[in-house]
């Protein structure tokens, strides 16, 4: 199917376009029914764990009576350490967001819209960091950038230049976090660029604009919602990360809110009140970021896909394409290949760094019954949760962009709330909620799946929404006018158009789930133990070489699925042509 672009940043004409979806009495009843169902599902998945966490934090039992207590709030407000943690969180997350957005946008543009050699391979390579568990990725950077022994510092030390790199700094944390998050931004922006009609850029160039000006004044504004969406996602992922700041920040006492939450939950007795207050801080930051995004996009339309056909055009960089490719290769060598080589070397070392190599750690992967069982659990949990989160995300995205249902904005806000809450705190909320429920899934695999969906469905919503708002409703209207029912329109028009975003969303949440540790930690049992838990337990007893081998396995599981999905997609595209 050939499609085309119409406008950029035009004042919205979408209300006219949505007339076909205007409510009639019967439709209102159906819509209310759907909305009620969605509210129940979302409440159970996303909202109730947060409510349970907050209730547990602010309610106390005194003399057999349950009373409201603000002691934790006072404790957080009066202690300078929490203010410092808040400041650190803002500074580091903004830094990581800017870095990730810059890298993600440039990579997406170069790899999707230009004739850089091996673009597809480079794009797949660029997504690899998200398949490495953050704490392992951070540790790889410790091995590269730690004072005294970091591989980057060793030559400089040999030359008497001291340690030029110190990963245990604000810059080090921003760098490690930023390059981990950059692939998420790249995936979102790349999906938008693939949906963009290049005729606007052609028109700009016909009018005499240079390539650079065309990119700045045409391309960037068209994909602005995706960039903004990616940036907000990067910020929100960053404020919720705990592995990287704990590993890199704690040694220099750079505490973030998530580090404080982690410490509180490791402590006895834990103050769930403090955890709840800090989680609310993060929710506030996330909500503020989302509101700012909504304000920035309000009243503008970013529709780029309409009924007219187009074939995406690749920008010819002529000789410059090799220079661009070299720069990308250099970046990927530094941020992707380097850390993976480090982890691989560690996996084949008797210990880190012995200089002696062994296959024992890797052989353990297929010899151990623990590994086999946890791989099966990880795949089951990940595939079910990723598929359910993507389907739910699609439904929410469709409701918020394609209907005028009352309360649709509320649904959107509810689903976005858990985004900013650290996984560990959210998982506790999940456990509290299901412990209170008479019919409980506590202790089963389903509680992990439900927890993952609730915590991460917003990622799917973001990815799919940014693609849906680019598609003009006239395509769906045409189908409806031609006699298609709702189902036919959805399956034969809407879904094929947003399929790249749906696949992006699935791969994205799959990549998160396959290496997710903190969501699983408070919820697993021996029967539902995942590969991440096995890695964590192995790390706790100092066996880093074995942890490195397990990380390689996680990487293979992540990359293998990504390549399989890509291959299937490619074959379908070829078949369609």
């Amino acid at each position: 199917m050939m499609l085309s672009t119409s406008t950029i940043a035009q004042r919205s004409g979408a209300s006219r376009a949505r007339n076909v979806f205007a409510p009639t009495p019967s439709r209102v009843l159906v819509q209310r029914g759907w909305l009620t169902l969605f509210c129940v599902v979302l409440a159970v998945f996303a909202l109730m764990p947060l409510v349970a966490l907050v209730l547990r934090g602010f309610l106390e039992t005194q003399d057999g009576r349950t009373v409201l207590s603000f002691e934790a709030l006072h404790a957080v407000l009066k202690e300078s350490g929490y203010w410092m943690a808040t400041w650190n969180t803002v500074v580091i997350s903004l830094g990581a967001m800017m870095l990730a957005t810059a890298i993600g946008v440039v990579l997406a543009w170069c790899l999707v819209r230009t004739n850089v050699p091996f673009a597809r391979t480079l794009e797949q390579l660029a997504t690899l960091p998200i398949f490495i568990p953050p704490f392992i990725g951070a540790f790889a950077w410790v091995l590269i950038g730690a004072p005294r022994v970091g591989l980057f510092n060793l030559p400089a030390r040999g030359l008497g230049l001291g340690d030029p790199m110190d990963i245990y700094t604000y810059t080090g944390i921003i760098w490690t976090t930023g390059i981990y998050i950059a692939p998420y931004v790249m995936m979102i922006v790349a999906a938008a660029l693939r949906n963009m009609d290049p005729s606007l850029e052609e028109a700009a160039q016909v009018c005499g604009l240079s390539r650079l000006r065309t990119m700045l004044s045409v391309t960037l504004p068209v994909v602005a919602p995706s960039i903004l969406s990616g940036a907000v996602l990067a910020f929100v992922i960053s404020i919720g990360l705990f592995g990287t700041p704990v590993l890199l920040g704690m040694t220099k006492e750079i505490y973030l809110i998530t580090s404080r939450i982690y410490l509180e939950l490791q402590h006895f007795p834990p103050s769930f009140g403090i955890v709840a207050v800090l989680a609310i801080y993060l929710m506030f930051m996330s909500t503020l970021a989302n509101i700012l995004q909504s304000i920035a996009l309000r009243g503008r339309s970013f529709i780029t896909v309409t009924g007219k056909g187009f074939r995406p055009k690749i920008i010819e960089l002529t000789g410059g394409r090799y220079v661009v490719a070299a720069v990308i290769w250099f970046y990927l060598t530094l941020t992707v290949i380097g850390p993976i080589v480090i982890i691989t070397a560690a996996a084949f070392s008797t210990f880190t760094w012995s200089g002696r190599f062994t296959s024992a750690n890797v052989a353990y992967l297929w010899q151990s019954e623990d590994v086999r069982a946890t791989v099966v659990n990880s795949l089951l949990v990940t595939v079910i949760a990723a598929t359910a989160a993507t389907m739910l995300g699609l439904a929410v995205a469709w409701i918020t962009t394609r209907t005028r249902m009352w309360g649709r904005r509320l649904v959107e806000h509810v689903v976005l709330l858990p985004m900013s809450v650290p996984s560990l705190a959210f998982a506790l909320g999940v456990s509290f909620f299901w412990l209170w429920m008479p019919l409980s899934i506590y202790g089963t695999m389903w509680i992990i799946i439900v927890g993952l969906i609730g915590r991460y469905v917003s990622y799917s919503v973001r990815t799919i929404t940014s693609s849906l708002i680019q598609i003009h409703p006239e395509l769906e209207e045409s189908a409806r006018i031609s006699g298609f029912g709702w189902g036919n329109t959805m399956f034969r028009v809407t879904l094929p158009l947003v399929m790249p975003a749906i696949i992006s969303s699935w791969v994205m949440v799959y990549s998160i789930f396959i290496s997710e540790l903190s969501m699983v930690l408070p919820l697993y049992t021996a029967e539902t133990r995942t590969l991440s838990i096995l890695s964590f337990d192995t790390w706790a007893v100092g066996e880093f070489s074995m942890v490195a081998a397990l990380s390689l396995l996680q990487l293979v599981m992540g990359v293998g699925v990504m390549w399989t999905v890509t291959l299937i997609t490619k074959q379908r595209q070829v078949a369609a042509v």
């Binding site: 350490g81 540790f139 410790v142 091995l143 730690a146 004072p147 005294r148 022994v149 970091g150 704990v246 590993l247 704690m250 040694t251 220099k252 006492e253 505490y255 404080r260 410490l263 509180e264 939950l265 490791q266 402590h267 006895f268 007795p269 834990p270 008797t350 210990f351 880190t352 760094w353 012995s354 002696r356 623990d370 456990s431 509290f432 412990l435 209170w436 409980s440 506590y442 202790g443 930690l521 408070p522 697993y524 049992t525 021996a526 029967e527 964590f536 337990d537 790390w539 706790a540 007893v541 100092g542 066996e543 880093f544 070489s545």
Partner: protein, 356 residues
């Protein structure tokens, strides 16, 4: 170099003592674990068991138990002791007690006991246990021990002085600057036991001077002993203020240039303890597992994996000092737990680190 030789001599004499004690114990209790048939029948009728605890020893225990009693389905959760304990408390508070057996750091088991969560438990195997296996207050038993000692990377410290005693940290040499690491006593049970032992043995003033000295040498705080062990083997932080045998024995066995040395004033013994939940849904299976953990077969498996058995007659782990022979700092863990806030605040004031 001198220190290395001294450490070797200590280890050598301890190893000899270990062999002798093991030979002496051969006659006492080498029979395989044989549980009461009625208990086994009752446990198999229950058919299930839930165990929470230590990530190193619990998987070993459940593997052996599962092989011996395949009719009992065991579910477990392992992890950081307090985190797991908080999970246990949350389940009880919600009126959904799931746990049958707690097998983890002793401080959490004592806390569970004093909070009224545990059934009073005296094992049928108690007569075969060493003194170390039986805590003074009773109500639970110890399942295995670990030692907390000095640990350093002998390659990185080759031309440097290494600590002989805790008091060496009061005035640390300049060459230790930026080399030391420790973990957080607020979250790590082993670290709390060590800090509490320093507090109780040396007193707040002298003990505080030791901690201040560690910090003055730019010692850093690490999230866990596992992280410290990794930095120890790479040489990034080659001088652990202390570390635990379970985190170090594995890398030493693989040839890492790491030495564990007993401080002159003594190391610290830390135990994993076995507590049975008062609300255990499967009390017979729980008791069967607890007795099995203390049997000769399981204690031997523990020793082979590098943790200290608490049963008489079991050969101690190879390459490690014999627990019963090692000089230990005095530690009254129950008292330390009563003074927990005081000790943690003292540690924070002395080191300048934050524990929460």
């Amino acid at each position: 170099m001198g220190m290395k030789r001294a450490s070797f001599k200590v280890f050598q004499s301890l190893a000899v003592a270990g062999v002798l004690s093991a030979l002496g114990g051969l006659s006492t209790a080498q029979t395989a674990f044989a549980a009461d048939a009625t208990l086994v029948a009752a446990a198999e009728k229950e058919g299930q068991l839930v165990v929470y605890g230590d990530p190193f020893t619990v998987p070993l225990l459940l593997k052996a138990f599962g092989a011996k009693y395949p009719k009992i389905k065991v579910t477990s959760a392992t992890g950081d002791a307090w985190q797991i304990y908080n999970r246990f408390v949350a389940e009880n508070a919600a009126g959904k007690p799931l746990l049958d057996v707690m097998y983890q750091a002793e401080d959490t088991v004592i806390t569970a006991k004093t909070s009224g969560y545990l059934a009073d438990f005296a094992s049928d195997e108690a007569g075969s246990l060493s003194e170390l296996g039986l805590p003074p207050g009773g109500g639970y038993v110890r399942g295995n021990g670990n030692l907390i000692l000095f640990a350093y990377n002998h390659d990185s410290m080759a031309n440097k002085q290494v600590p002989k005693d805790w008091t060496d940290y009061i005035s640390p040499p300049a060459e230790w600057d930026g080399l030391g690491a420790m973990s957080n006593p607020g979250s790590s049970s082993a670290t709390f036991a060590t800090v509490a032992a320093i507090y109780q043995t040396f007193g707040p003033e002298k003990g505080g001077a030791i901690l201040k000295g560690f910090r003055s040498a730019k010692g850093e705080l690490n999230p866990s002993m596992g992280v410290m062990a990794t930095k120890l083997q790479t040489g990034e932080r080659p001088l652990d203020f202390f570390n635990i045998t379970t985190a170090i024995s594995g890398i030493i066995a693989k040839g890492a240039p790491v030495t564990m040395a007993v401080p002159v004033s003594g190391g610290v013994a830390q135990f994993n303890a076995i507590g049975l939940s008062k609300n255990a849904p499967h009390p017979n299976a729980a008791r069967l597992l607890a007795d099995f953990a203390l049997g000769h077969e399981m204690q031997t498996i523990f020793a082979e994996a590098g943790v200290y058995p608490v049963r008489n007659g079991v050969t101690p782990p190879k390459g490690l000092p014999v627990l019963a022979e090692v000089k230990l700092l005095s530690l009254d863990l129950e008292k330390a737990l009563k003074d927990r806030d005081t000790i943690l605040n003292w540690w924070a004031a002395s080191t300048g680190f934050s524990y929460r």
